[in-house]
Each structure stands twice: as structure tokens, then as C-alpha cells.
Symmetry: C2
Subunit: 204 residues, 2 copies
Amino acid sequence: MSQPDRPVQTRDAEATKARLLQAATEEFAARGIAGARVDRIGTAAKVNKALIYTYFGNKEQLFDAVMDAHVTRVLDRVPFTPEDLPGYAGRLFDFLADHPHQLRLATWNRLERAGTDREPEELHASMRRKTDALAQAQDDGQLPTAFPPEDLLVFTLALVGAWMPTSPMATTEPAAQQTRQRRAAVVEAVRRLITREETGQDSS
Amino acid sequence: MSQPDRPVQTRDAEATKARLLQAATEEFAARGIAGARVDRIGTAAKVNKALIYTYFGNKEQLFDAVMDAHVTRVLDRVPFTPEDLPGYAGRLFDFLADHPHQLRLATWNRLERAGTDREPEELHASMRRKTDALAQAQDDGQLPTAFPPEDLLVFTLALVGAWMPTSPMATTEPAAQQTRQRRAAVVEAVRRLITREETGQDSS
């Protein structure tokens, strides 16, 4: 929406909010909710910290704003392709490798808010949309039914996250070639989840 | 080691330490390092918090003690079977479902200490022992070589963790039947990692 005749003050306020949100993203990704300090965010954004309370409310509400911005971003940027789950895994791997804050924020959220009523609605809604799409692809015969949609989604996300810096196994910064090999391995692991097998080990 | 003639004071000190370690485990698992409060640990253990500093040092060092106790526990309790990775996945799933603090502690450690020099040595050593064992099993022909040992281990752990409460996908407390179904799905997903395939989709 182009709004050429908005007053300067409003544009300034939005620029300030954007700077605060960016600084808050860095601070929360690095330290989580309990470890984050509102005054550090104000300093990094070069904004009086009183304005944080004016614009966003308390520290929890500022974290909500950061989660909203990032959850929405992930949902929009990586199109979900239920008929090509390995391809989705590869694209999500690339996106998360380029945006390391995303997984850290989601993990802090999980650790610090599990079981509270502050978990973002939109996260659950997004999962539900994806499992619905997987169920539809299974109904249409585009996708094997060896795993229920929920397992397929959770395993795909777990495999994509396996080598990310939030994983307990991740070591130091990988070299570029290592990242390419890991991406290929993740895509292959997801492909194996949806392979139609004729195997003697079938446990049905 | 039986030590029947140790003085009462020493036994008291050890009981106090054990109580503090237990209270610290609960506190750190729930809130992480930044969120934990030493006075809350003292209160829960019914011990003057000054004794925490005497016995363990500062909050970071108390977290070290908790990690040591728990990392060692996991290593000892779930035998690693490179020739039967799906079986290992199932047993680790059971252990972690029964000990929800383990993954939370490991995840806090990862988030709050990544890139610092405080990451526990023993965690890396344990991973290395497991990848060595997987490499040996591959050399012996007991295990397919579709994935390098590191990928195999990381993917197995990621799949086991996929439905645990630390996972971004995990919802509320699962019913017992749901847990059994998820366990079976995890074992099956790991089995697919080590399936020898003749497939037209081979990307080599």
C-alpha cells in the first residue's frame, strides 16, 4: 500500500519500530526471553528503551512481535509442496541455513513457553495446513501412506533441522562443501520416508 | 565402594549436594541458565543458597555439574548398537520419554552455550565413539553405506527427538497409544535410513 501523504512523524515511528524489531530479533535469538535485556535492545537500536514499552508493551509482548514477524516470514518464503517432500526439505534447508535466527527463535519459544497459553496460534495453524495438504496428497495417490501425515511432516522438519546450529550434534561452522553434502543427505533421507517399498520386513 | 566408617558430616554433605543437584536439574530444565535462579534452587532443596556456591561455585558451574550428571547418565543407560540402529532408536525414544529433562537440558546447553568454550567435552567424545562404531559396522558390512556415519547418527537422533516435547512440532502431552504409534514410526523411519535399495531414482 502506497501512502505518500502520511505525516513524517508516522514514517519515523515506523522506522523506529522496524529498528527495534530488528534489534529485538538479534537479542532474543542470541539469549532467549529470560536472557534478553530490554535496555540492550534499546541501545542496539539507538532508541530510548521507554519507547519499546510504548510501541510493543513488555518483554514478553516484544518477543511475541518478533515471533509473529518470523513465523509469518517462514510460512511465506518456502512454498510447501506435499507432492515433492524431498524438494521442500532441500528448500527449507537452504532457507534456514541462510536465516539461522529462525530456528533459534522457534526453539527458545518451545523451551520457554511450552505449556503456556502464549504459544503462537499461527505456528499451529501452519502445521495443520501442511498436514492437511499431505493427507490430501495421500488421498490423491501422489504420496505413499506408510506414515501418517503428522509423522511425515515432523520427521521431515526434524531431518532438515538435524544439521542446523540448534541441533545438539552440530559442531562448528561447516565448510561450504560440507553444507552441500549435508543438504543432499537430508534430501535423500526425506526421499526414503516416501519410498514405496516391497520388503519382507513389513511389520503389518 | 562401601565406606561404612565415613564421618556423619561427610555423609550429610553428600546428601545435601545430591538434593541441590536434583533441585538444580529441575530448575535448569525448566528455565535454562539465564532463567534459573540460584535462590529458587536453594529454597527447593531446603538448603541455604550460600552452600551452593561452596559446593558447586557459580550458576554456570552448577549447570556444568547438572550436565555432567545427565550426559553421563544417558551415555551409560542406553547401549549403542550400530548393527541395530532402529533398535537403538526405539530404546532411546523410551529413555527420553521417561526422562524429559535430558533433552531440555541438552537443548538449553546448545542454545545458551553454542560457540563458547563451556560445551561439555564428554558430549563430543560420546558422539565420536558412536560415529566410530558406525564406521566400523559399515567397514564390516553390517551396515549399508548410503549415508556417512555422521549423517546416520545425526538423522537417527533427530528422528528420535522429532516427537519429544522439545520439538517445535510437539503438541500437548500425547496419549499412551499415540506414544506407541510414534515410537513405531520413529523406528520405521530409522530402518528406512539403512535399507539397501535398488531403485531407479538413484541420483548417483
